[in-house]
Symmetry: C2
Subunit: 231 residues, 2 copies
């Protein structure tokens, strides 16, 4: 299950944190971590782990979430390839990290990354960037939830995944798979399963999107979606 890290074939070598490092330093980092595959739904990092681990997602999609005492899950972040998983600077993990689709990640013990970053200024300077990128993303999530209407929230979610699904950062994917179940979308958007479902069919009948199966989405009227998402 665990494999050594091979950067040469890494699809996100140019975008992930590692890109800040010289080839030698990257080799050193690669040696302290390992690479692993996950199936949809598998836990990558469990909340409560004291030996904290952080990771770079190389393929797939993941969510970070909290579980309240009453048992409801709350998604606080979505992670796409090249993004960082886990809480690098926390002493104990407070969040669950779960694979949303079949995924791959490079895992590193947080303590050893911290040690390496003390010795390698290039890494030390890059890590806070990464955290503040996470911060921006979590603010984007706030954006997502604070839309008034269900249509706006769903439209914004679709666009967010269109952006993430595209390999090129400049333009979005035309058609892609939503890696979330209706329940997860509902929870993320602060809606119910039924409302999400109804809203998707409404967007489809209005001609803004087309669906292929229960998770396949194709964007038909980009402008109209932008419009809804802006509200």
């Amino acid at each position: 299950m665990n494999a050594p890290i091979v950067c040469d074939t890494c699809p996100v070598a140019d975008r992930a944190v590692c890109s800040a490092l010289s080839p030698e330093d990257r080799g050193e980092l690669a040696r302290i971590g390992h690479h692993r595959r996950y199936v949809r739904g598998e836990t990558i990092i469990a909340a409560g782990d004291s030996a904290t681990v952080c990771a770079t997602l190389t393929r797939g999609a993941a969510k970070m979430s909290t579980i309240d005492r009453d048992g409801t899950e709350r998604i606080v972040a979505l992670v796409h390839p090249a993004g960082m998983l886990g809480q690098l600077f926390a002493s104990t993990a407070t969040l669950h990290v779960t694979a949303l689709t079949d995924s791959e990640a490079c895992l590193f013990p947080a303590s050893r990354v911290a040690a390496l970053s003390d010795a390698r200024p290039a890494l030390a300077r890059r890590l806070p960037d990464e955290v503040s990128r996470e911060l921006d993303e979590s603010r984007a999530l706030i954006d997502l939830i604070s839309k008034r209407q269900a249509k706006g929230r769903v439209a914004a979610l679709i666009l967010a995944f269109a952006r993430a699904a595209s390999p090129a950062p400049c333009h979005d994917a035309e058609s892609f798979e939503l890696p979330l179940t209706r329940g997860e979308m509902a929870q993320l958007l602060g809606l119910t399963i039924e409302t999400v479902s109804r809203t998707l069919t409404a967007l489809e009948t209005a001609g803004l999107i087309a669906r292929r199966g229960s998770h396949g989405i194709a964007i038909r009227d980009r402008a109209a979606l932008d419009d809804l998402a802006a509200g």
Copy 2:
């Protein structure tokens, strides 16, 4: 308006980022920044500033927000004393930072903080902590918004400020001032002004809180509030 920084009388010297530093290092940091007062509503950092500044709030309360192209403001973070303002690791500020009440803050040019942190490992190690604390807070904000019912959101907001208003971290303040207008609360919670107002009167008539003026709050039934906020 601008004054030198005097750490000896600083009310948050034990909790702010600076607490990680030795007296000499703290002195050095103090010399590159300055201290300033703000009145309610005043802009502390404007989005778009290229010369980025970061700050530690020493008294009062502040909000960080974005302005969409359509002109609506969106609050992405609340900051309480000892908290950090601004985006330390961004090259351009993307957020407005505004004083919610009369406040005081120590301002530092971001570039010089970064330079100092290269030379002072203690600071370098503390800064990411601070950013990840911000991250946790912004996730707490997500928590706030994703409650289903208006009562729950308002209750959670009240408790958040009760926590922040208390000088001691262990227990909350019993009575305090909400430093937000109804409009700001509404916006923050994804509700309307009217709903916020109605909800507050409902909480009052139900005996969970008492009000003194339009912003004064006293907590009467802590358990019931917790209960609502959990939903």
